[in-house]
Amino acid sequence: MSADTVIQLAHGGGGRLTRELIENMIVPRFGSGPLSGLPDGATLPSPGDRLVFTTDSFVVQPLDFPGGCIGDLAVHGTVNDLSVCGGEPKWLSLALIIEEGLPLTVLGRVLDAVRAAADDCGVTVATGDTKVVARGQGDGLYINTAGIGRAMPEFTLGMERIREGDCVLISGTLADHGMAVLAARQSIDFINGPQSDTGPVHRLVSAVRGLGASVRFMRDPTRGGAATVLNEMVEGRAFGILLKERDLPLAPATRAVSEMLGIDPLHAASEGRLILICAPDVAPEILNRWRALPEGAGAVCLGTVSHDKGRVILETLAGGRRLVDVPRGELLPRIC
């Protein structure tokens, strides 16, 4: 293997190979704008009075999975965290931790995915870093992205604003990312398996502007799934959330894999969905606005805020009621 085809330790050494890596891989994709001239830090215009700032690291295995790869996931994850806080995503940092031996073609493909996702989300990669670790010290590639967004003044969001009787909306099917990643693992090989939903939610957030205080709270159900997000909302509160099993939106392939592996789809991650709590009178309007967007085509009302104090409860197909607990244990592989 030569320096032309795979990452070597020297690519992280700060010398000639490092420069080549930056010039050949990074600059062509991200070299215009704040990164131009490769300064140590980006100098950015202030986008408004208040900023939203977040960071997230991505260690998904495998790097490629049905429906996406670590590159677009790393953009969507951070863009979505900004969006659900009422932020309009503006800038990203991109830090790569690359394992010695990673083929440059793989790195190139991942960086292409980063660029394409950033363009789709209207964000600019403004600064970055590259490190190389020895073979065996990383799983091919880890990515960290941090993001800055402009806080949109029209949103006043908070869990404390949720009221009994509110509606719980979701922008599409549950658990597709978690199941796609599980199915992509070598040991479990599915044909026509689930596709990850990795994607941005910023347009879904923008679509609900102007509805004022009726929009109470938003969250993207990533690691831990919808069950975790919903439990966080009701923990220690006077209200709970009631879901109906027959209304849970599930793609057939995702449902099949979750049945086969015995994993509750409420426990598995999405990477391009938005859960939103709103007053019941605006729910139909929000669903209409979402359904007009490709990423919101499958939007439904998932449940209601109920009197079930501090608990998330599922009305089952058999007609019984059961608790929806948060997932525990470590059986799931790394998914984000």
């Binding site: 479990i188 027959r246 509750d264 197909l317 058999a318 007609g319 059961r322 608790l323 470590e330 059986l331």
Partner: protein
């Protein structure tokens, strides 16, 4: 998925619930309460997952039995597994063993301290691992009931065929019928009927329960794991109880045959022989386990490494033993949900994905369900 949906149809469920209620009323008029033990951990989980306990009348009580293989494994078994890791062996296990408490530690702590403990989804991963590192010993934690036993012994097949000499099994295989005998023979436990396991029955066959139904006069109804299977199973049990019958009824005929899976039975008998086994909470039950025959001693980790499994020690306050026997509801254990939670489990019933305490913690709404206090 259409196949599954048929067994989750809400309208049919409602009809069954109504019939169960009618039979419950008829029994109630006779002053009778029915204690139905669901033997299998997967039934316990499905009952929780579909909220079935609340759909039953007050005088029909579901009691969870000893059908979670991880839960009935003695702590001494974990002690030996941890000792093997300490000697440098790679331990390969299904995920739910990883946090089950041994006498002093568990496999998760062992791994954190540098032990080579790996989780697999399929037993064949152990053969692959052994082949990939021929200079190290690989030990597969062979825990399970009849369902799991057949595929696990096929590991020995594969290892023999491929000349893999660095793989062995630490066995804690258990058989369901001897445990049912032991439960019925215990005067402290009130069991009026068994909801018999689905997958175990696919291997051992419906006829395996006939001696139990005849000797102890209890109805034995084999049911699948879908909500309608379970409701239909309970319905069938109540019909027998009302008529004071005690038959084996196979309601899972789409999978279970009267004679079972002959091929699997032959494989099991070829490699394994009955041995006395220690069940957590129940003690030693004669001929209730299966161990490798002497001619396959090279694959038996206990013999290969001269590290026999000795009885271990339980946490003093843990009442998993009583839960396993159906003598105590998890919610009546002083540690439940206070000291003992899935994040910090004291006993195995809170660890396993099929454990009774885990099922109650995860799914049950105590104030809404028909729980009672156990038998």
């Amino acid at each position: 998925m259409n196949y599954i949906d048929g067994f989750r149809n809400p309208d049919v469920a409602e009809q069954f619930v109504r019939r169960i209620a009618e039979q419950g009323r008829a029994l109630s008029e006779q002053g009778r309460t029915v204690h139905v033990m669901e033997v299998c951990g997967s039934h316990t989980m499905a009952i929780g997952r579909y909220g079935i306990r609340q759909l039953l009348p007050e005088n029909v009580e579901l009691i969870s039995g000893p059908g979670c293989p991880v839960c009935v494994t003695d702590p001494g078994y974990l002690d030996t597994a941890i000792a093997l890791a300490g000697r440098g062996a790679a331990i390969v296990t299904f995920g739910d063993m990883i946090r089950v408490p041994g006498s002093v530690s568990n496999l998760a702590s062992c791994r954190a301290a540098g032990g080579d403990v790996r989780i697999c989804y399929s037993p064949s991963a152990a053969v692959d691992l052994a082949k990939s590192m021929p200079d190290r010993e690989v030990v597969f934690l062979a825990v399970g009931f009849e369902t799991t036993i057949a595929p696990v012994v096929s590991l020995v097949d594969e290892a023999l065929r491929e000349g893999v000499a660095n793989l062995s099994l630490l066995t804690a295989f258990k058989r369901v019928p001897p445990a049912l005998h032991a439960l019925l023979a215990d005067p402290e436990i009130q069991i009026d009927a068994f909801l018999c396991p689905a997958h175990v029955s696919a291997i051992i066959g419906a006829r395996a329960y006939e001696p139990i139904a005849a000797e102890y006069r209890v109805p034995c109804v084999i049911a699948g794991f879908e909500p309608l299977d379970i409701l239909y199973g309970v319905n069938g049990i109540l019909a027998q109880v009302l008529k004071r019958e005690a038959r084996v009824e196979n309601q899972y005929a789409r999978v279970v045959r009267p004679e079972g899976n002959r091929k699997a039975q032959e494989r099991i008998a070829h490699y394994l022989e009955p041995v006395d086994a220690t069940w957590r909470g129940m003690g030693v039950i004669p001929a209730s386990g299966l161990g490798l025959r002497p001619e396959y001693a090279a694959f038996d980790a206990e013999r290969k490494f001269a590290l026999p499994v000795l009885p271990g020690h339980h946490h003093a306050g843990c009442r998993c033993g009583d839960v396993i026997k159906g003598k105590l509801r998890p919610t009546s254990c002083g540690l439940f949900a206070q000291v003992c939670t899935p994040d910090n489990p004291v006993g195995p019933c809170m660890v396993s994905a099929e454990g009774t305490c885990a099922a109650y913690f995860k799914y049950e709404l105590p104030e809404e369900a028909n729980l009672g206090e156990g038998t």
